[in-house]
């Protein structure tokens, strides 16, 4: 039994869970901020689509010169603004994800350094107040993977939007919402409950 190794690993785990909890809050708030942006993006796409469908020359609006081009320009400008904002949000998402991955890999690295002094019994030992090190590392990794997955999905969704495929863009808000995976979030929250005694110790 090499207590010092376990102690330092426990310390790192406590820190990581703390970091994870903070970052989870940031992530949720970021997600909430993104929803209106995406909705406006979908809205703009719908407007562009309507514009393509209408023939302005047979409406009373035909007296305005170049109306269609001007409108389209306006809409595209607005889309650009939204996309720039979304891009900023994505970088914030990325920094959150990076922070979480850093926490996870930090713990894993520390474990790898201490492998020689820690045998498997010690790693899988559980007590009334603290789950085993293996379990906690597993939860951390699962959480890291979840955020990685979420981030990649959302990023790819935005990256595959094309100005010439308005249907795709119109459906973006719906698809964005469907990406959220409640069960994985619940698992992470569960993990927090499981480690609550350990955090307080």
């Amino acid at each position: 039994m090499s207590k010092p190794g376990v102690a330092s690993l426990h310390e790192a785990l406590q820190k990581s869970f703390q970091g994870l909890e903070n970052n989870q809050k940031i992530w949720t708030s970021l997600l909430a901020e993104c929803v209106p942006l995406l909705e406006s993006l979908g809205n703009l796409a719908e407007q562009s689509k309507a514009l393509s469908n209408v023939q302005l020359s047979i409406t009373p609006l035909r007296v305005f010169p170049d109306l269609e081009d001007r409108l389209r320009f306006k809409l595209q400008e607005a889309m650009d603004t939204v996309l720039v904002k979304l891009n900023e949000k994505m970088s914030s998402f990325q920094s959150v994800r990076d922070a979480i991955t850093n926490h996870v890999s930090g713990v894993v690295q520390l474990y790898e350094q201490l492998t020689d002094s820690l045998d498997l019994n010690c790693v899988t030992e559980r007590s009334a107040t603290a789950p085993s090190i293996a379990d906690m590392m597993e939860w951390l990794q699962d959480a890291g993977r979840h955020y990685q997955r979420q981030f990649m999905k959302r990023k790819l969704l935005l990256q595959t939007l094309r100005p010439d495929d308005l249907t795709l863009m119109e459906s973006a808000p719906g698809r964005w919402k469907s990406l959220a995976s409640q069960s994985a979030e619940d698992n992470i929250t569960d993990a927090f409950f499981k480690v609550s005694f350990f955090m307080e110790s």
Partner: protein, 748 residues
């Protein structure tokens, strides 16, 4: 150590690359948390990171197939029992670089997404994953368009496993779609095929040329042929050929089976057909592709009437084929066994440019098919493939495979009785030959089962036997002599002579001594109340006979079957029409193109260094490609003179009534199984039975035996000479001197 039971993976572990083990096993193997471990399973292996089970139980294994061999990825095993020895800890150094192929879900994604985005995404996703060379990384849990990543090679290349970090350089070699990836994995089992080298070479060329030399073809301004129609009787291996070529070239295959496309609602079939072409087009973007229309005759029948629904389907197919432009680089292959029922518009250059006719296999082809089929069967070395190929005239590839299967089954049956022989030997094949009949002759009207008769069972007639052997057996046995002297195989033989003189029996003996197919036809088979039906049946009979050449076609009582034009009956009767069909079939202008078999081989062009047996087989093949017609009649004067000229029935053999010696021989043969008393003098009997035919003599022996039973009650043990003489008194010969005289006057 006890075995591990594999359980299905925990949903929360999906995509984690974890392999859940008991902690005891982990420490036995020297594994730590997250250490890479290579698990070998049937068909491949899987690279995982070890992790203790949360309940710490031993004896179970749950692994996530994030990084595994392609075959394991496609067909994951479940509920395996693994030995702990199948788990090997491996070391995974950090990699400098990795070359990968990305597999994406849809063609659209591949087309529209910039490679920069894919690269960035893949690099991000692969971070922290243990990879193995030639393994596939499963990214399906990310639920994005990027489905798999195939690891092509690693840098440094001294290791086969490694860990991808943020510093690892990722190089994308290519992007495929999932369908392409899967179809390539599934085509792996190689089909072997004998005897169709030439056809498969030409198909391979058509597939590969546009891929290998696209610029040359462009600069020449020619388009490569894009349609091939395979025509041949069922079972010659049309479908297998396509699968083989596709597998060799590594092309993807889109199969359309005729009946699958046809839907019940109007317009549904056309829609399905369009979808198939679209699929082929999208596959062709990624590599060579073959669109295979199997059973084309059901899909595209000849258009009839005005508004049948098939017409629309045919029209749709035609327009789709015309709509293929230069950029669609897929080859279209159609296969049918009824080319005459296809719409004629299909068979023109630009649609199906080439027509490849695969006939029933020739001797050489059968030999190579047999050697391919027997490659995996433990065959006794005494089995002679050449002899087997000679015995199987008229068998197509499917028949031969059934033959081999049946022979193997015979061997198994024998083995199960405890003989302990593990090899398939020649007599197993001979048993199987009795069960498996050639499918060329199936449903043929002339197919007959005949009990074998040997030449020795026929008494006398030695010169007739010799002549028959000359015309039937010699071309089979001494082909090279025939070729050397420039002899052609005779087309036909006419046997004539008084009734009861063993004409039919002679033919039976000839058929059983030469191992060629034997068809026999009588009037009952041919005549039909419908006009033209009999002629069609006769032509069909000849076609089948040619398909399984060398073949003997026996027309018994030909005078009643086919009349003469000169006898002044009403012309245009069925008889005369049948006669004209027969004359045409025996010595017509040529064969129909559809009946082509094998490759047109000319003997002179053969290389010098070829060995003797090969040459002999070739000779045999060349000199025996025709059907031999054997006719028998006892009224030769009523035959049409056109039938009797050389080139048709060119050997006219008179089967005479037996002379004294012959009668003696016949009596000997007839009494072979009878217990004769010592005083029986067969020579005296032979002298007394002038004008008796062979059948009469047989009857005489029978009568004598019956008489013996009658006089001596049922206890008679020998037949005495007196009984023969008594029965001879009661009988009179069936021939008359005048009758024999008419036969002996020359026919022509």
């Amino acid at each position: 150590m006890k075995t591990l039971r594999q359980l299905s993976v925990d949903p929360s572990d999906l995509g984690s690359q974890r392999c859940r083990l008991g902690p005891g096993l982990m420490s036995d193997l020297g594994l730590n948390l997250g250490s890479p471990v290579l698990v070998s399973v049937p068909g491949g292996s899987c690279l995982c990171s070890a992790w203790p089970r949360s309940d710490l139980a031993e004896g179970f294994l749950q692994m996530d197939l994030k990084c595994s061999s392609p075959s394991v990825m496609l067909h994951p095993h479940s509920h395996l029992h693994l030995e702990p020895g199948q788990l090997t800890p491996v070391s995974c150094p950090k990699l400098k670089g990795v070359k990968i192929t990305v597999v994406v879900q849809s063609v659209d994604f591949k087309k529209y997404t910039p490679s920069r985005i894919i690269h960035e995404h893949v690099k991000d996703v692969l971070k922290g994953v243990y990879v193995h060379e030639k393994h596939v990384i499963n990214l399906e849990d990310f639920d994005t368009e990027i489905r798999f990543v195939i690891i092509e090679s690693l840098n440094p290349d001294c290791t086969s496993t490694g860990l991808i970090t943020s510093k690892t350089g990722v190089e994308i070699c290519g992007i495929q779609t999932v369908r392409h990836f899967r179809s390539h994995l599934q085509d792996r089992p190689q089909v072997t095929l004998g005897g169709l080298e030439e056809v498969s070479a030409s198909m391979r060329e058509m597939l590969q040329l546009p891929l290998l030399y696209p610029n040359t073809l462009n600069s020449l301004g020619v388009s490569c042929p894009r349609g091939v129609l395979l025509v041949g009787p069922p079972g010659v291996g049309k479908t297998l050929l396509v699968h083989k070529v596709v597998g060799e070239v590594g092309a993807s295959l889109v199969v359309v089976k005729g009946p699958e496309v046809v839907g019940s609602r109007p317009g549904e079939s056309e829609e399905k057909l369009r979808a198939v072409f679209k699929r082929a087009r999208s596959e062709a973007v990624e590599g060579p592709c073959v669109l295979f229309l199997d059973e084309l005759d059901s899909l595209c029948p000849r258009r009839t009437g005005s508004s049948s629904p098939e017409n629309r389907l045919v029209a749709q197919l035609l327009t789709l084929m015309d709509g293929m432009d230069q950029s669609d680089r897929f080859l279209m292959v159609g296969a049918t066994n009824r080319p005459d029922s296809l719409d004629s518009a299909l068979r023109r250059p630009g649609r199906f440019d080439r027509e490849v006719i695969i006939g029933a296999p020739t001797l050489q082809q059968r030999k190579s098919i047999l050697s391919v089929l027997c490659a995996t069967v433990p065959v006794c070395p005494s089995v002679d493939m050449t002899e087997l190929a000679q015995r199987t005239s008229g068998y197509v590839g499917a028949d031969l495979s059934a033959l081999c299967r049946e022979a193997a089954m015979n061997a198994i049956r024998e083995n199960s009785k405890g003989s302990g022989v593990k090899l398939v030997s020649m007599h197993h094949f001979q048993e199987a030959l009795k069960v498996v009949r050639p499918s060329c002759l199936r449903s043929s009207l002339g197919r007959t089962e005949l009990s074998p008769v040997s030449w020795e069972q026929i008494g006398g007639l030695d010169d007739v036997k010799l002549k028959l052997r000359q015309s039937i057996e010699w071309p089979m046995i001494y082909p090279e002599a025939f070729i050397r002297l420039g002899l052609n195989c005779p087309r036909g033989v006419l046997l004539y002579g008084p009734p009861g003189c063993a004409k039919t029996t002679l033919v039976r003996a000839a058929a059983s001594s030469s191992h060629c197919s034997f068809l026999s036809v009588s009037g009952a088979d041919l005549y039909s109340p419908y006009v033209g039906d009999s002629e069609k049946a006769l032509a069909q009979l000849f076609r089948q006979a040619r398909a399984c050449a060398p073949c003997i076609l026996f027309l018994d009582e030909i005078d009643s079957l086919i009349g003469s034009r000169s006898t002044g009956q009403t012309s245009n009767s069925v008889h005369t029409r049948l006669l004209s069909v027969l004359l045409n079939e025996m010595d017509g202008v040529g064969l129909k193109t559809l009946e082509r078999r094998g490759n047109e081989k000319i003997l002179q062009a053969e290389g010098v260094e070829e060995n003797h047996t090969h040459e002999k087989l070739d000779c045999q093949e060349v000199s025996n490609k025709d059907v031999m017609v054997v006719a028998a009649t006892n009224r030769p004067d009523s035959l049409d003179s056109a039938l009797l000229r050389p080139g048709r029935l060119d050997h006219i053999i008179y089967v005479p009534p037996p002379d004294k010696q012959a009668r003696h021989a016949i009596l000997k043969a007839c009494t072979h199984s009878m217990p004769l008393a010592a005083d029986v003098n067969l020579e005296e009997l032979a002298a007394q039975t002038g004008l008796y035919s062979g059948a009469d003599l047989g009857n005489l022996c029978k009568e004598a035996a019956l008489l013996a039973l009658q006089c001596e009650n049922m206890e008679a043990s020998v037949i005495k000479h007196t009984y023969f003489l008594q029965s001879l008194h009661k009988m009179s010969p069936s021939l008359t001197a005048q009758q024999i005289h008419t036969y002996q006057t020359p026919l022509r």
